[in-house]
C-alpha cells in the first residue's frame, strides 16, 4: 500500500495558489460578466511534491484542483509540465493524472535535478474554467537521482563485488582486441593491395 507524506511545501503552495487563483478569479469575474451568465465556475490549481516513505514506491507530484471556495473537484484531468533548458527554454510534459475525491491528481516522478519549475494545468470544461499554476519545487536531496553518476549501476551483493569490478575490464579488453584486429586486417590489406598495384 502506498504511504505518502504531504510535505510542508504542499501546504504553502496550496495557500499561495489559492490566493493567486482567488485574485485572478475575482478579476476575471469583474471583467467578464458573460462568465456569470453561463455559470462557469472558476477553479484554482496548486502543486506539491509528495515524497514516498516506502522503499520501492515512487515519489509523486501532486496537483490539487479546487473551486474558489476551496472545495475539491474530482474526476478531472490535470497535466503536469516542467520547465527545461533543452535547445532553448521550453516546457516538457511530464504526464496527466485524474483528480480523486480530494481533488488531487498524482503522477510518479523521479527528480533528476534538485529543483523543477512545475506547471500544472487544468484545461477546463463547459462548467469549469481552465486554470493553471506554476510552482518552484525543491526536492529533498535523497529523492534526486543522478543516473549519470549512479555508483556502479545498482545494488550488487557485496560478495559478488570482485566479479563486478573485474568484468568490465575483461570485456573492454576483448572489445579493444576486436577493434585492433578489424583495423589491422583492413590496414594490412589496403597496404598490400596498394603495393601490389604499384608493382609492374
Amino acid at each position: 500500500m502506498t504511504t505518502v507524506r504531504p510535505s510542508l511545501s504542499f501546504a504553502v503552495a496550496l495557500v499561495a495558489g489559492s490566493s493567486a487563483a482567488l485574485v485572478i478569479a475575482a478579476a476575471a469575474h469583474a471583467a467578464d460578466p458573460a462568465a456569470v451568465q453561463t455559470q462557469i465556475s472558476q477553479t484554482m490549481v496548486s502543486v506539491a511534491f509528495e515524497a514516498s516513505s516506502v522503499e520501492g514506491v515512487p515519489d509523486y507530484l501532486a496537483g490539487r484542483l479546487a473551486l474558489v471556495d476551496g472545495s475539491a473537484v474530482a474526476d478531472q484531468p490535470l497535466t503536469f509540465w516542467r520547465s527545461a533548458d533543452f535547445g532553448g527554454a521550453r516546457t516538457i510534459e511530464l504526464g496527466t493524472g485524474s483528480t480523486d475525491s480530494g481533488g488531487i491528481a498524482r503522477i510518479p516522478i523521479v527528480p533528476r535535478e534538485e529543483r523543477y519549475r512545475i506547471t500544472v494545468r487544468f484545461a477546463g470544461t463547459n462548467e469549469l474554467a481552465p486554470s493553471e499554476t506554476v510552482g518552484e519545487i525543491a526536492f529533498p536531496p535523497e529523492t534526486v537521482i543522478h543516473p549519470e553518476h549512479a555508483p556502479q549501476g545498482g545494488v550488487i551483493d557485496p560478495r559478488l563485488r570482485p566479479l563486478a569490478n573485474f568484468m568490465p575490464g575483461l570485456v573492454g579488453g576483448a572489445v579493444a582486441l576486436v577493434w585492433l584486429v578489424l583495423f589491422a586486417v583492413t590496414a594490412i590489406t589496403l597496404i598490400r593491395v596498394m603495393s601490389e598495384g604499384r608493382r609492374r
Binding site: G87, I107, P147, V178, L182, T189, R192, M194, E196
Partner: protein, 452 residues
C-alpha cells in the same frame, strides 16, 4: 586483371555480368525515381515526427508509465536483426565457400549496413533528449547494459562497414575501366580501388582479409544481439528475465535478416532484370535457410512458453495468458501463422518453391517478427508490478511516422548505395564461378575471363 568489364559482343543474347551489375548505377528508370520519391517522402514524414517529439518531449508518444518502451524498441531490435541476418548470410556463405554466394553477398552486406545505420538511431530517438547519449561516452557506467549496447553496436558497425567495403575495392578497380561509367566516376573508382589490378597477390590479400572478417563477424553479430537482449533479460520483469533471451534474439535476428535479404534480392532482380544471376536456385537456397531458421525460432518460442507456463509464477502466467488466450492472442497466433508456419509450408510444397512464394513467405516473416518483438515488449511491461491496473499501449502518429520514416530511410539508403556501387559482387562471382564450378551458368561465365 579480371576482364569482366569488357562489353560483350553485341550479337550475344545476354549482357555480361559487369553490364548487369552496373545497370542500376547508370540506368534509373521511372520506377527507381518513383520508389525513391515515396521513400524520401516517408523518411521526410518521419523527420517531421521526430521534430515534433524533439520539441514537445516523449509525451507526444503513446508511451506511458507502464509501457515505457514500445514500437521504438521493437524497431531497434528488428532493424539491427535485419543487419545481423545480412551480415551472417554473407559471412557464413563465404566461410562455407558456397558457390552461389557471390550473387547475394553484396545485397546482403548493403542491407546489413543500411538497416544497422538506421536501427542504431532508434536508441537515441527513444531517449527523448538525444544529447544524453553523450553521457554514455563521457560518464559511462560500465555495469549498465546500455553502455555495452553502444560498444557492441559501434563495433558491429565498424565490422559491417569493413565487410561491405573491402570486397568493393576489387569491383571498383574492375569498373574503373568500364566504358558505361563516366570519366569522373571511373577516376573516382580508380582512386577508391587502391590501385587494384587483380594480380594474384592482391586477390590473395583480399581473400585472406575477408576470411578473417567473416570469422570475426559471426561471433560479433551473436554478441551484439545477445547484448541487445540484455536490455530485457537483465530486467526483473515477468517474461523477460530469462537466460534463453540471448539465443532467442540471435535466432530471431538471423531469421528476419535472411527474409529481408530475400526480399531485397527479389526486388533488384525484378527491377533490373538480374534473373540470370539471382535465379530461382539462389532464392530457393535462401528459402531453405529461412525454413531451417523458422524451425529453430519455433523451438526457442516453444521452450520459452513451456518453461514459463510449466512453472507458472503468477506474473509470468498473467503475461502468458494475455499472450495466448486474451488481449494479445490475435497477434500471437498471427505471428505463429505467418512467422513460423507459412515459410515451412512454402518450402515443403515443391510447387510453391518459387521466387514469388518465397518472397511472400519472407514478407510474412518480416511482419510476423515485428509483431513478435512487440509481443515481447508490451505484454510484459503492461503487467503491473506493484499493483494497479494493467497498462495499455497504443502508438501515436509520431511514433508510427518515425518508424515508417526509418523504413523509408533504409529503402533510400539501399537505392542510393546501388546507384553508387554495383549490386552484384563482380570480382567474387568471377573468382568462384570462373573456376568452372558452375557448369549450369556456363553461358554467362564465359563472359568472365579471370586472368591469373
Amino acid at each position: 586483371m579480371d576482364d569482366v568489364t569488357a562489353p560483350r559482343d553485341p550479337s550475344a543474347a545476354q549482357p555480361s555480368l559487369a553490364e548487369l551489375a552496373v545497370r542500376p548505377m547508370v540506368h534509373a528508370g521511372r520506377g527507381f525515381w518513383l520508389v525513391a520519391l515515396i521513400a524520401a517522402l516517408v523518411a521526410g514524414v518521419g523527420a517531421v515526427g521526430y521534430a515534433v517529439q524533439l520539441g514537445s518531449g516523449l509525451g507526444v508518444t503513446g508511451l506511458n508509465d507502464q509501457v515505457f518502451w514500445g514500437i521504438y524498441e521493437a524497431t531497434l531490435v528488428t532493424f539491427i536483426g535485419f543487419s545481423y541476418g545480412g551480415a551472417l548470410v554473407s559471412a557464413i556463405l563465404r566461410l562455407v565457400d558456397a558457390s552461389w554466394r557471390g550473387r547475394v553477398t553484396r545485397i546482403a552486406e548493403a542491407t546489413a549496413l543500411a538497416t544497422l545505420l538506421v536501427g542504431a538511431l532508434f536508441p537515441i530517438i527513444h531517449l527523448g533528449r538525444p544529447e544524453r547519449v553523450l553521457l554514455i561516452l563521457f560518464q559511462p557506467n560500465f555495469e549498465s547494459p546500455i553502455v555495452w549496447d553502444l560498444v557492441a553496436i559501434a563495433t558491429y558497425i565498424v565490422a559491417t562497414v569493413i565487410l561491405f567495403g573491402l570486397p568493393l575495392i576489387a569491383d571498383l578497380g574492375i569498373l574503373s575501366e568500364h566504358p558505361a561509367l563516366g570519366p569522373r566516376r571511373r577516376r573516382f573508382f580508380r582512386w577508391l580501388s587502391f590501385g587494384w589490378r587483380g594480380t594474384s597477390g592482391q586477390r590473395r590479400a583480399l581473400e585472406r582479409a575477408l576470411t578473417v572478417i567473416a570469422i570475426l563477424i559471426v561471433p560479433l553479430a551473436v554478441i551484439v544481439h545477445t547484448v541487445l537482449s540484455y536490455a530485457f533479460s537483465l530486467t526483473s520483469r515477468p517474461g523477460w528475465h530469462s537466460t534463453i533471451f540471448g539465443p532467442y534474439f540471435v535466432i530471431g535476428a538471423v531469421y528476419s535478416g535472411v527474409a529481408i535479404v530475400i526480399l531485397t534480392a527479389l526486388a533488384y532482380r525484378r527491377a533490373y532484370g538480374l534473373r540470370e544471376w539471382i535465379d530461382d536456385r539462389v532464392i530457393r537456397n535462401l528459402g531453405y535457410v529461412l525454413v531451417a531458421l523458422a524451425v529453430a525460432y519455433g523451438y526457442v518460442t516453444f521452450t520459452e512458453i513451456t518453461t514459463q507456463g510449466y512453472v507458472s509464477e503468477a506474473a509470468d502466467a498473467n503475461v502468458l495468458y494475455a499472450l495466448v488466450f486474451a488481449e494479445y492472442s490475435p497477434l500471437f497466433w498471427a505471428f505463429l501463422g505467418f512467422g513460423l508456419l507459412l515459410p515451412v509450408v512454402v518450402m515443403a510444397v515443391p510447387r510453391l518453391r518459387t521466387g514469388a512464394w518465397i518472397g511472400l513467405a519472407s514478407a510474412g516473416v518480416i511482419v510476423a517478427m515485428y509483431i513478435k518483438r512487440l509481443l515481447i515488449i508490451v505484454p510484459a511491461e503492461a503487467q503491473p508490478l506493484i499493483g494497479g491496473a494493467t497498462g495499455v499501449y497504443s502508438p501515436s502518429w509520431v511514433e508510427l511516422a518515425i518508424v515508417a520514416g526509418g523504413g523509408g530511410g533504409i529503402v533510400l539508403i539501399l537505392l542510393v548505395t546501388f546507384r553508387l556501387v554495383p549490386v552484384l559482387a563482380i570480382h567474387e562471382i568471377g573468382e568462384i564461378e570462373g573456376r568452372g564450378e558452375e557448369p549450369a551458368r556456363s553461358a554467362s561465365v564465359v563472359a568472365i575471363e579471370v586472368t591469373t
